[in-house]
Structure formats: C-alpha cells, structure tokens
Symmetry: C2
Subunit: 206 residues, 2 copies
C-alpha cells in the first residue's frame, strides 16, 4: 500500500535537491552556487526549487535531532537541574547519531563557518530554538512558559553551544560530542575560570 507515487516522487525530489545543493555548496561555495546550478544538477526547473525550499539557505537547515534531545531530557527525573539534564540528554543523543547524520552535521558546520550569511541564519535559528526550548522546558520543571530563569538558562546553554559549534567549525576534525560536552560541563560547574579541573588522578586502586 505505502503512499502514492506522488508523495514518493516529492520526497525523492526533495532529497535530490538537498544532496546536489550540498554537494555544489561544498564544491564551489554557497555564494558561487546559483539556484540555476542546483536546478540543472537535479534536472528540475528553477521554479520548482522554490516549491520545495523557500530560500537557498533553507536547504542547509533541517535538524531531526531536536525531538530526540527532548525525549532524552524527559527520560530523566525532574529534580535534576535542567542544565545537567540537557547535558545528559545531548550525550545520549550524540551516541545514537548515525555516521550519515554526523557527516551531514559536519558539512553544515563547514558551510556555516565559510559563509557569514549562513552563520547568521544558523544563529537566528538558534535563538528561535532557545525560545522554544525555554517554553518547552518550563512546564517540565514546574515553571510558567515565560519564566525568566528558564529563559535565561536556555540562553546560556545556547550561547555556550553556539561557541562550541563555532569552535568545531574551525577545527573540523574535533570530536563534536566531546567539544559540546565539555562546554556543557563547564557551564554546569558554574563557569569557573579554571577549567578543566585538575585532572583527577586515576582512582586509586588499593
């Protein structure tokens, strides 16, 4: 039964646009790739491109990870501080990431760092995300949706994540999970100037 031919074709077209566009962006740069180039590569008309994506930028965005993080967040007891919960949640999700997703994320990072335009768009999305996260979080920690503390926490988390992502953009080989977790841990610890803490000597075995 599945879904009709129409839907399947649409999904395929969408995926093809994404794939070809990303390829071209990485090859020639975002700015040097025109909609026409993409349309040509996918063998559609330029008009059709805009049936699938509202703008060139939007092709680069699209995270299926957010819901996963949220689920992992919910899986924890509510008495834990949200930052800790988020950190744990992100760790959980990172370990479940497929190589394909990892590759895509890195490609995005590369584009973000090379094109200011995209960086701006990403950050904007981040801000929106922070707002959403805050509103989503609030009831889960027993607060009203527009609670100040929750929003502020969301802001700090996102700010820290933002820096982490920029760092990754500059060091494409870095272990994303590790960079992000380190940032979250530091935030969790209250952002002390001295960090990491003195390496704890390996647990004494006796």
């Amino acid at each position: 039964m599945s879904i009709g031919l129409r839907e399947r074709k649409k999904l395929k077209t969408r995926a093809a646009i994404q794939k070809e566009a990303m390829r071209l962006f990485l090859e020639k740069g975002f700015d040097n790739t025109t909609i026409e180039d993409i349309a040509e590569a996918v063998e559609i008309s330029p008009s059709t491109f805009f049936n699938y994506f509202p703008s060139k930028e939007e092709v680069v965005f699209q995270d299926d990870l957010d819901p996963l993080v949220l689920a992992a967040f919910d899986a924890q007891p509510s008495h834990i501080h949200p930052i800790t919960r988020l950190r744990t949640a992100m760790r959980t999700v990172f370990t479940q990431i497929t190589p394909e997703q990892d590759r895509l994320m890195r490609q995005r990072m590369e584009l973000f760092t090379t094109t200011p335009e995209l960086r701006a768009a990403m950050l904007s999305q981040f801000a929106t995300l922070a707002d959403q996260i805050a509103d989503l979080l609030a009831p889960r920690v027993g607060k009203r949706p527009n609670d100040f503390a929750v929003h502020n926490i969301a802001g700090a988390v996102l700010g820290v994540l933002m820096m982490a992502l920029l760092t990754i953009g500059e060091n494409p080989d870095a272990d994303m999970h590790q960079v992000v977790d380190r940032a979250m841990a530091h935030l969790e610890a209250g952002l002390p100037l001295e960090w990491p803490p003195e390496k704890t000597p390996r647990q004494k075995r006796r």
Copy 2:
C-alpha cells in the same frame, strides 16, 4: 582649522542616511523600504547609498558602547570573576548612556524583533562579538587568547544577553538596564532554577 568641507559633508551625508533610513524602516518596515526610498529621502542617488553603507542592513548596526564596556571592565581588579566584572562594567556603562543613545538602541531592538533578517544579522554580530570579547578578555584574566574556559564564559554571557535583548524587543517599555542586569545576576549566581532569590526582607531595623 577643523577638518575640510569634504569630510564634514561626508559626515553629514552619512548621518542623514542613517536618520532617514531609520525613520523609514520604523514607519514602513525594513522590507518595505527600498534603497531608492532612502536615496530619495536623503536626496542622493541610489549609487551613493552604497558608497556609505555596504548593505541596507548595515545602516541599522553601529555600536559605540563596546569600548566603554571594555574600559569599565579594565577598571576593576583582576581577581574578580569575569562575569561579575562584566556585569559591573555594563551597569556602569548603562548609567552613562545618553537619552539619544537609549532611543536609538530601542529603535534598533524594535527593528530586530520585527525583521528576521535583521535579527539574524544582529546575532551574527553577537557571535563575532563573543569571539572578540573572549580574545580580549583572556589576557586580562591571565589566559591565552583561545582559552576554552574564557570562550565558553563569553558564549554564556552573550547567550544570556541575547535572550535579554529579545525580551526587550518584545516589551519595548521594559527597563533595558534592569533586564540585562537581572540576566547577568542570574548567570553570576550559577543559573539556579529558583530566581529571583527569596526577596530578602527589608533589612531589619532594630
């Protein structure tokens, strides 16, 4: 002696563009204002606009406050945690702000919240700022320029400020200084979920 007529004229033109552009943006919206509109209002040619600003967006940006904050930061002893120092520095600067500057800042906020495009640009500038601040801060607290902790702190601060600014954008009547200081205080206190702290009963008089 002063500076020649040429320079004076240039400054005047620049100021005129800023003023008229802001007026039009606020009146008709950023997107509904074309470069032609601005050029016409200032009585220059559209070409000339681009002699003064590289893009429409850039007209909205321009902060002279950063150096002030930095100076106020430097005026404090270095053993204090940077977040506290920054908070104090910002408080200092906020009290010195002229009504004119205040008005301009609010106008900017309004535009930022109404036009996604501008919001994105602002955030991007924020990220750059965070990086700069981090690099500037590091030596002042005895760290290397790319120190992780310092960058992370800068990220958190900027994230929190970002949320504060968005809040202000939504409540144009809010006291900017107060909103910002509250956010910084919360961050300084380690982002507890319960905030503000129990209102300390007015100092007992006995």
